[in-house]
Structures are given as C-alpha cells and as structure tokens.
C-alpha cells in the first residue's frame, strides 16, 4: 500500500468509527430530552428514571464521540494537506462554524446538564439539555454542508486553480445537504430507537424470567415488585415498557423518514453523480429495472462479468426520476462521458506522485457500492419491521419468556448502526475516484473537482501514515471494548445503576421529588456543591 491508500483506510476507519458514536449521541440525546420534558411536566417518577438511565448511557457514548471527533478535524490538515489547500476557502468555513456555533454549545451545555441537577432550577436544567441537543443537530448540519460540497460543489468560482467561495447562501443551502441532513438525522433516530427497544426488551424479559412480572389468564401482564432488589418495583416495569414503545415508534418513524429523504437523495444523485447511481445498481447497461440480486464478479470492474439475476422493471427509473420508463444510464454509457469531460489519464503533475499519468478508473468499487446500498436499505427496513412486530408482541404489556427473542432484540440494536455505516461507505466510496466530485450542472462550475489521488499530503511519508493508522486503529479497538463493557455493565444494572439514590435512601423519599421541589438526587441535605461528582 502506498501513502494514498493508507491515508484512505485511515480516514475510512476513523470516520466510520466516529459515526458509530455520533448517531447514538444525536438520537438518544433527543429522546432523553423528551423524557426529561415529560418528567418536568408530569412529575411521574418513571420519566425521571428513564431520563437518568438513558442519560447515563448517552453520556458513556457521548464522550467517545467527542474524543474521536478531534481526529476528524485534524486529519484533513495532517493527511490531506493538498485537499485542505485546494478546498480551504469554502470547506473550512462550515468546519469552523461547526466548532464556533454548534460544538461549543453542545459541550458547554451538556456540562451544565451533567453537573447542574441541583445548581440549576429544573426548567433551566432541562433547557440546558435541549440547547445541547439542538447544538448537536446544528453540528450535524454544518458537517453535512461540508461533506455535501464534496459531493456537489456549488457557490464557487475557480480563481488561480482553486475554488473560491462567491455565494455562501448556495453553499449553506446546497440541495445535496438539505436532503442529506434530514436523512442523517432520521438515521440517527433509527439507531436510538433500536437501542431503546433492545435494552428495554432485555429488562422486561429479565423481570419475567425472575418471576417479578407474571401474565394473567387474559394474557395481560401483572407487574410485580421484587423485595430484595431496590428499584425493581412496578414503576420499573413502566420504565421498560414505555421505553420499548418509544423505541419501536421512533424506529418506525425514522425508517419512514430515511426512506422519504433517501428517495429525494436518489433523485439528486441521478443528476449530480450518475456514476454513483449506476454503481449502486451494478447497472452496466441503460435500463429501468432495479436489481434485487446481481451475481458475477462485481469487483472485477468489468461489466461483462455481471449478470442481474432478478430485476424489477421500472423501479430504477422511479428511484432516479419518479416515473417508470426513463432509461437510466448504465456504466457502459457513462464511462465515455466521464472520460471526455474529465480526461482519460491523470495529469503529469507532481501532486499525483507516482500516479501521475496513470489511466483514471471512473468506476467505483462496485462490490462496495452495490452491497453497501442494499445493506443500508436492508438493515434499516429489517429494524423497522422488527419494531412493528415488537409493538404487536408487547401489546399486552410485556415480552414473551423466550430467550431467543430477547437475544434477537438485543442484537437487533446493531442493525441500524450497520445501516448508517453502510450508507456512508456507499456514498463516499461511490464518489471515487473524486474527492470533490464534479458538478455536471450546466451552470458552468463543472470544472471544480479534485481527484482523490491529488489530495494526500505530499510531505508525509507512508511510514508516518502507517504509524498513525496502526495507532489509531489499536486505540479505537481498545476503547470500543471498554465502552461496550461499561454500557453492558450499566445496562444490566438497570435504572439503579444510574440512580444510586434508589438504594441509599428509601425509595419513596426520592421518588416524591417533583420537578418543582428543587429536583431529586442523593447527598446530604444542604450540600449542593456537587449534585453529581466524577
């Protein structure tokens, strides 16, 4: 592997990893804010418990997103200095604004929320969480504006060989971003939905297995209490059942949201990056059919090896244009167009290094685009279907005793994560060989593009890149183990793991705390220096 390939692996690994934490942060943050709002308005103790329990898991995950996010901002300059020089005038602004207007808000107000349970009035404390959550949504917006400019450059003019921003409004309202932002947010909510559903199912199952909850003759649940374990009372049953239902509904709504916004994205992609669309389909020839199963050697980059076994006519046209008859161009028609527009060989320019003068392969790696596209839809759809089934199964207030169903629900948590990762891998790999894809719009800025081969830092050696790839991958692997272990520990502990006050004090003392009475929490009376302590 040379420097370019190592740098690409590093960016891929660190970004996909970062984006395991990010959707859970965005999705779960929103859900926890809604839960705390419900507690604030009703004073029902189960909402407080839900806020505390899911809030604890949210924080364990949040910190990993923060820690891995710094790498993202630094590695543009470190590993992709030519890219940074080329796009800096337009791409740096959304990154800087993300830090200044979004991440500052998120970090500061989350600190206030974590530590401010007693120092702040309940309404203000709740507002801090909402402000942090809204900050995370703005953060997503700015980052996607930056990414969308790489998919669909707008609002610039080429001056001295570099794109210079001339129309900020166009950059910040790039239609690619306007559909990608809701798509990503729904994807994040899908992750949170699956997370709630799986974990709540596990706890309902454990209550049944331990004989705390039983089922009456009519099949309805009879919630019970367990005397020996604090916090495992009837409210506990409400916590899990309500969490499960919220999770299932969120999962279904967000799948519908990703489908609708994804459809809009497909139509833009057909105009803006036709080769990506063709590669998503492994569609060699022009046609209207959506491939359900194509076989052959997708990786051979040779269309003669691919056979579409099952095809649904008209669907591809629908995805691309909204009708059933438009012929969507396949790879064989597109390749000559790309070669004519953007050249057959990389220029003889030193920034291409050893790749200068090489022939350009305009076809993305089709194994990845074809299967990435299908995994995204498949995982997303399966999770939504499972959520619907889960709502039906739990309609009488609890889950069956089946251990297998419980395992399915718990491992199902991974499906929306998989859908998110597959979607991003598809869209970024589908953009290749460009790092900034050309905008084919006749508006006249279609010469704004950059090949990935020209983007890597010329002064950085393959050895340095390898050192960082190995280091970061190893660090991330270790931390993933730690994070998952901690999550599992807190999940198994249940609500009490996030509310030690349920153990230390008689349950009713704390449960009577209403939002108006200054908030709940343990600790000695009058000691409000540390409502929460590291």
């Amino acid at each position: 592997m040379d420097a370019l390939e190592i740098a690409r692996w590093q960016f891929g690994i660190t970004t996909v990893y970062h984006f395991m934490m990010v959707p859970l942060t965005i999705g779960l943050g929103l859900v926890v804010a809604v839960m705390q709002t419900a507690w604030h308005r009703t004073g029902n103790p189960e909402y407080l418990r839900m806020t505390k329990f899911w809030g604890k898991l949210f924080l364990i995950n949040f910190i990993m997103g923060v820690a891995t996010g710094i790498v993202q901002e630094f590695q543009f300059g470190m590993a992709w200095s030519e890219y940074s020089r080329f796009v800096g005038d337009v791409f740096g602004a959304p990154l800087a604004l993300e830090a200044l207007l979004a991440f500052f808000v998120e970090s500061t107000f989350l600190g206030l929320w974590i530590f401010g349970w007693k120092q702040l009035k309940p309404g203000i404390h709740l507002a801090c969480l909402w402000i942090a959550v809204i900050g995370s949504i703005f953060s997503a917006y700015f980052i996607i504006v930056a990414n969308s400019w790489m998919q669909h450059p707008v609002g610039v003019e080429m001056i001295d060989g570099r794109p210079v921003m001339t129309d900020a409004w166009a950059v910040f309202t790039n239609n690619t971003a306007l559909v990608a932002v809701p798509h990503t947010l729904f994807g994040a909510l899908a992750v949170a939905g699956g997370f709630l559903l799986g974990i709540a199912w596990y706890h309902l199952w454990r209550r049944r297995r331990d004989g705390v909850d039983t089922v009456g003759a009519d099949g309805k649940v009879i919630p019970g209490e367990s005397a020996d374990i604090p916090g495992r009372d009837r409210d506990d049953h409400k916590v899990w059942l309500r969490s499960l239902r919220i999770g299932a509904v969120v999962a279904m709504i967000s799948f519908a949201g990703t489908a609708l916004t994804g459809d809009l994205q497909g139509k833009l992609m057909f105009e803006q990056q036709p080769m990506k669309m063709a590669a998503a389909e492994a569609a060699c020839h022009d046609g209207t059919g959506f491939s359900v199963l194509s076989i052959g050697n997708l990786g051979s980059q040779n269309c003669d090896d691919i056979v579409a076994l099952i095809e649904v006519p008209g669907i591809l046209s629908y995805l691309a244009k909204g009708d059933f008859t438009t012929e969507v161009q396949g790879v064989n028609s597109l390749l000559p167009q790309y070669k004519e527009a953007y050249g057959t060989h990389l220029p003889d320019n030193p920034i291409y290094g050893e790749r200068a003068g090489q022939e350009i392969d305009y076809l993305p790696v089709m194994e990845v685009t074809y299967w990435g596209f299908r995994m995204m839809i498949g995982f997303g759809g399966l999770a939504a279907l499972a959520a619907l089934v889960a709502l039906w199964i739990t309609r009488k207030g609890t889950v069956p005793e089946s251990r297998w169903l419980m395992r399915l629900a718990v491992f199902g948590i991974l499906a929306p994560f998989g859908a998110n990762a597959a979607g991003w891998i598809f869209t970024e790999m589908g953009r290749q060989p460009f790092v900034v894809a050309p905008n084919p719009d006749p508006s006249g800025i279609d010469q704004v593009f950059m090949f990935t081969a020209a983007a890597v830092s010329p002064g950085v050696s393959a050895g340095e890149l390898l050192a960082s790839l190995v280091t970061l991958t190893a660090v991330y692997a270790v931390l993933l183990v730690v994070e998952v272990k901690l999550l599992v520990k807190y999940i198994r502990g249940g609500v009490v793991s996030a509310m030690p006050e349920l153990v230390h004090a008689p349950a009713d003392e704390n449960e009577d705390a209403t939002p108006g009475s200054g908030g709940p929490g343990g600790g000695k009376p009058g000691d409000d220096v540390l409502a929460f302590a590291y």
Binding site: A168, I229, G459
Partner: protein, 349 residues
C-alpha cells in the same frame, strides 16, 4: 496591510490564547492528579473542579484549528502535515484524557481508577507538550519547500524550540492549575496549592518566558518588548498576591501574564504565520496563506456575534459552578449497587 487577514490573524491569536487560558488549567489539573493529589479523595476534588467545564474548554482547540483551516488554509495544511507525528501524539493524548474523565468513576476498583489516573495525567502532559511544541514551531519555523510541504522526513520538525515550546505550555499549565485550585477548592488542597504556587512560579514560568524572549530577540519590535515587560510584571504581581492569600487576584494576574505574553509573541511574528527555515521566500504570511476576502468577511460577521456569545455562556457556566469544592463535598465512591450488580453479573443472560 490587508484588513481582513489581519483581523483573522488577531482572531486566531485570541482563540489560541483563550485555549491556553482555559484548557491551561484543566491540562495542569490533569497532570497534578499524579503530581499533587495524595489520595483518591483529593484526586476527585481536583477532577470535580474542572468536571463541568473541561469539555467546553477543549472546544477552543477545535475552534482554533477550524478557524485556521477556514481563514488560512495554507497555514493549516502546512503546519498540520509537517507536524504529523507530534499531532498524532496530541490526538491520542486527548482521546485517552477525555475518555478517562468520564470513565474513571464508572468501575469501583483501585486498579481501574489508577489506570485512568495515568491516562489523565499523561494525556494532559502530552497534549500540553505537543500543542506547545506546535505553537512554538509556527513562530520559529519549519523546513518547508515552495509548495509548503515539509522536507527532511518525519522528524525534520524537531528542534530546541519544539522542546522549549512544549515545556512552556506544560509549565504554564501547571502553575495556572495551582492558581486555579487555590481559587476553586477549600481545605488542605487549597492551602497546599497556594504554597506550591508561590514556590514554583519562577521555575514553571521560565520556559514560556524563554520562548517569548527568544521571539523578541528574533523578531521583536519595541512595543512587543514592552508587552513582555508588562507580562513579567503581571507574573510578579500574581506571585505577590498569592503570598498575601488573594487567590482571585493571583489567578487574574496570571491570566494577564498569558494574554500579554501571547500577544507579544503573535505581534512579533506578524505578518508571518509560519516561516520556512529553508528559504524566506517560502514563508507563509497572512497574505499568501489566507482565504478570500469573501470567506473572511463571512466568517468575521459570524464570529463577531458568535464568539462573544460563547464567552458569555461559558462565563455563566463558571458562575453556576462557582463554589469551592473540598474533600467534604466528595460523595462516597460511586459504589455501583452492590445488590443488583452482584445479581446481574452472576446470572447469565
């Protein structure tokens, strides 16, 4: 002189100074976890002084980096790629440090806490050292060619200035943290922090003074020399106030020392943002490294209202958590539920 690039040079100087001022004490507190705290309770006192604020402080680094990317993309690209390995160390240090703050109390064993204490202390040390080295090198220069790329291999950045800058930020962070602890804690920690502060101030500020002075000898103008002198006076005032027990004044005076010292350095090197040690013609300056006026103008408008807002709500955070923390406030170890935990762990499923 070009107006907008100058404005953004100042803005980036302000962002770095803000970063060193705010994260300075929490990096220092991190290092003091191993150097100063005597037992677990004291370590938790230290941690909880920065608990609500460290993450917000760290965003100053991201904003400084992002603003450099947006306003001076060529500076950002050359500096970050030339310092590839040291910045990798900074990243790993910041990752472990951030995770350690959150995870340290999540398992109630000495071994677990000891590991994360090391992560906090070493993470803080390497982050401070690496950032200091990078900042010093952007003032003294790197072996850059005409394209702005580093010549001479992965370690070509190494020089005495890298070490001096690293020690400068480590030393400043430590003394700043002692001033902060004297201000934010009570009881034994408070008194010891003040004693340490008075004893160590001259030593710990030596490297940062050395960096500021060497820049003056290289590039200084009369008025930047004057800034250094005022900065030294501020440090002396901090020392005197600390001896008298005026902790708030001592902390503020040390902050003034940082602001003045940092201003003296940035002002002396202006308008060069990153000199090339190979050829003066390859120097990156505010003119040849900056973004277009359109981009800088847009960023100026946003920053003009965004940055004061950030300062306002961060100040409010410090106000909310203004009370001193002492050992008496630290709750019992976050014992994680003996009853249910035991049960949850022994029963499979």
């Amino acid at each position: 002189m070009e107006l907008l690039p100058t404005v953004w040079f100042i803005a980036i100087a302000v962002l770095w100074t803000g970063y060193l001022f705010l994260e300075g004490f929490d990096l220092g507190v991190g290092m003091l976890m191993k150097l100063f705290a005597r037992n677990n309770t004291e370590r938790r006192v230290l941690l909880n002084t920065i608990g609500p604020v460290w993450d917000g402080n760290e965003v100053w680094l991201l904003t400084a980096g992002g603003a450099t990317f947006a306003a001076f993309p060529l500076w950002y690209a050359s500096l970050f790629s030339a310092l590839y390995l040291p910045l990798l160390v900074v990243l790993v240090a910041l990752i472990f440090r951030a995770v350690a703050f959150e995870y340290r109390g999540k398992v109630d064993t000495d071994r677990w806490r000891a590991r994360w204490d090391w992560a906090i202390a070493l993470g803080s040390f390497f982050a401070a050292f690496g950032v200091g080295a990078a900042l010093a090198l952007t003032t003294t220069g790197l072996p850059l060619n005409a394209n702005g790329d580093r010549e001479g291999g992965p370690l070509a950045w190494f020089s005495g200035y890298a070490v001096l800058g690293g020690l400068a930020v480590v030393g400043f962070s430590l003394i700043h943290a002692l001033a902060f602890l004297a201000l934010k804690t009570d009881g034994d920690v408070r008194h010891r922090a003040r004693t340490w502060f008075v004893r160590l101030l001259p030593v710990l500020l030596l490297p940062i003074a050395g960096w500021a002075l060497s820049i003056q000898f290289l590039e200084g103008k009369p008025w930047t020399w004057a800034l250094v002198l005022v900065a030294v006076a501020a440090a002396a005032a901090a020392w005197v106030w600390a001896r008298r027990g005026a902790e708030g004044k001592a902390f503020s005076a040390l902050g003034a020392f940082l602001a003045l010292g940092s201003a003296s350095i940035f002002a002396a090197v202006f308008p060069v943002v990153l000199p090339s040690t190979l050829n003066e013609a390859y120097d990156l300056t505010i003119s040849n490294a900056s973004s277009s006026d359109y981009t800088l103008g847009l960023m100026s408008i946003v920053a003009a209202f965004g940055l004061p807002l950030v300062i306002a709500y961060q100040a409010w955070t410090y106000w909310v958590f203004r009370r001193r923390v002492s050992a008496a406030h630290i709750p019992e170890a976050h014992s994680f539920l003996p009853a249910i935990a035991a049960r949850a762990f022994t029963t499979k499923g």
